[in-house]
């Protein structure tokens, strides 16, 4: 589909930015309302639903046993996948995954993987013989903006509530999946010339480049990604990097409340 650049929308967003305002009335670094539910899908071994503004995302965890790779005989594996699918928005088409969809999946995956939240050695059943493969599938149902953060949140929440189905596979007792860290992704979008947190759909349509920052519990950065056309200065980056610490702490609290 020809995506006409929405000139009028861009102008409007520019004017709002000049008054330090946003199209839905939020402050620059203000988040939309989030509702997080966990363990809601019978057939998944861990699950979550995130409603973030009008964005709706489900995540489900499934386990399977496999032989370990010969060079890491005691390590299991974690496969994270997220895709842009036609259900979520008028503009997503069926067919092979678009570059946008591949980027979403890989950025969400890296944030979780690089945080080291799952110790792969904790997925070992019998060294050299049998390890767990954990499939984390993230299913976007409604895209109203900022699905990267919603997917990352749903993903770590589903992992945090997952039960290893050892009994079903005859390898011991069911037990919670050990998750030692809680990585949080914070995404910023340049809208009307300055970066804002948690862009909604109109801001995504009429804005420029995007930056995704994944932070660990200790404030270390685990993953960065700049997407879309646009450039930024190191000073601009420093400001949002700083803000991300605050946002991450709040979201981490939200998870702790729901999960424990």
């Amino acid at each position: 589909m020809v995506e006409i650049v929405p000139r009028l929308l861009r102008d409007q967003l520019k004017k709002l930015a000049e008054n330090d305002s946003r199209i839905d009335g939020r402050n620059r670094f203000e988040r939309r309302e989030i509702n997080l539910e966990t363990n809601i899908l019978t057939n998944a071994e861990g699950s979550s639903k995130v409603s973030w503004g009008g964005t709706v995302v489900y995540a489900g965890v499934k386990f399977s046993l496999r032989e370990p790779y010969s060079d890491r005989p005691a390590d299991g594996s974690l496969m994270t996948s997220a895709e842009l699918r036609p259900v979520a928005h008028l503009r997503y088409e069926p067919g092979p995954p678009s570059p946008e969809s591949i980027e979403l999946g890989r950025v969400v995956d890296r944030g979780i993987r690089e945080s080291g939240c799952i110790e792969l050695s904790s997925l070992c059943v019998v060294p050299g013989e049998s390890v767990w493969n954990v499939n984390l599938d993230i299913h976007v149902m409604s895209d109203d903006g900022n699905i990267f953060d919603a997917c990352a949140l749903a993903g770590i929440a589903a992992l945090r509530t997952a039960t290893v189905p050892a009994e079903k596979h005859d390898v011991g007792e069911d037990h919670p999946l050990p998750v030692s860290k809680t990585p949080i992704m914070c995404s910023y979008k340049k809208v009307g010339g300055r970066f804002v947190y948690d862009p909604n759909e109109q801001e995504e349509l009429g804005g420029d480049e995007r930056i995704h920052i994944t932070l660990g519990d200790d404030g270390h950065v685990h993953s960065l990604q700049k997407g879309l056309k646009g450039t930024f200065s190191t000073a601009e980056f420093a400001e949002i990097f700083d803000n991300a610490s605050t946002q991450a702490a709040e979201l981490r609290n939200l998870i702790e409340e729901k999960v424990n």
Binding site: S47, V61, S64, P86
Partner: protein, 242 residues
């Protein structure tokens, strides 16, 4: 059908394993407007099944070769989430989901007033989040509600429901164990007002008499489910007045 008749699915007292009678439905819940990005949407839980449906359009149909000069086409996708089944399934469409998408589209085209939107396309996205037998019926029934929620003009709603056969007995609305070890499954799509059929499949083994009884169960159940569809739509639009 599994067709293995050697598993006991009906207890001595005539009840099914989950306590239902032969012509009894599993619990059903229907909600409207659950996906903000869609023009119309519906969430249906039916037993342990969960389906969510989004409707987009009418919009210009492209590529152009799918356009029909005298009507809209329905572009329907039935998709199971990877975590919706007992063993994880690979994402993406397979031959089963493509066939269900096709017959669902044809069923819905029979009730939507497609002649009002020549050259256009209406997208119907059916997502199965949890699957415990009967997902195609759940998807069709929810899709009809989502189309109504989107304001698409229709001749009637459409209810889909299945009867089947287990341990040589005709029963309504097979659950997972009954589907796995049953002898027949007869899913239909019924227009509740005219009792016409817009959808029909069947596999397994049914004598003509068994077939007639199964159809009778389906007809009765369709009326019940239709009430829930109408209530769900009403409660969205009159929600503020109660």
């Amino acid at each position: 059908m599994g067709g293995y008749g050697d598993v006991e699915l009906i207890k001595e007292n005539g009840e099914r394993l989950d306590g239902r009678l032969a012509d009894e439905l599993r619990p059903i819940k229907i909600e409207v407007g659950v996906l903000p990005a869609a023009r119309g949407s519906c969430r249906m839980t039916w037993g342990l099944n969960i389906a969510e449906v989004a409707v987009y359009g009418p919009m210009e149909a492209h590529p152009r070769k799918i356009q029909r000069p005298d009507r809209a086409v329905l572009d329907v996708r039935y998709n199971m989430a990877p975590f919706s089944t007992s063993d994880r399934i690979r994402p993406g469409f397979n031959r089963r989901s493509r066939e269900i998408s096709k017959v669902t589209a044809e069923a819905l085209e029979s009730i939507v007033m497609v002649e009002m939107f020549p050259r256009s396309k209406i997208r119907v996205e059916i997502e199965i989040l949890c699957a415990e037998a009967g997902t195609r019926c759940c998807g069709i029934t929810a899709a009809a509600v989502a189309l109504a929620d989107a304001g698409i003009p229709m001749k009637d709603l459409l209810v889909s429901v299945a009867a089947g056969k287990i341990n040589d007995v005709v029963v309504l609305d097979l659950d997972k164990a009954e589907d796995n070890y049953g002898q027949a499954d007869l899913p239909v799509g019924i227009m509740p007002n005219t009792e016409e059929l817009a959808f029909l499949q069947m596999d397994g083994d049914l004598s003509p008499e068994e077939f007639n009884l199964a159809m009778e169960y389906n007809m009765k159940a369709a009326k019940e489910i239709h009430k829930l569809q109408v209530e769900a739509l009403k409660s969205k639009y009159t929600g503020g007045l109660e």
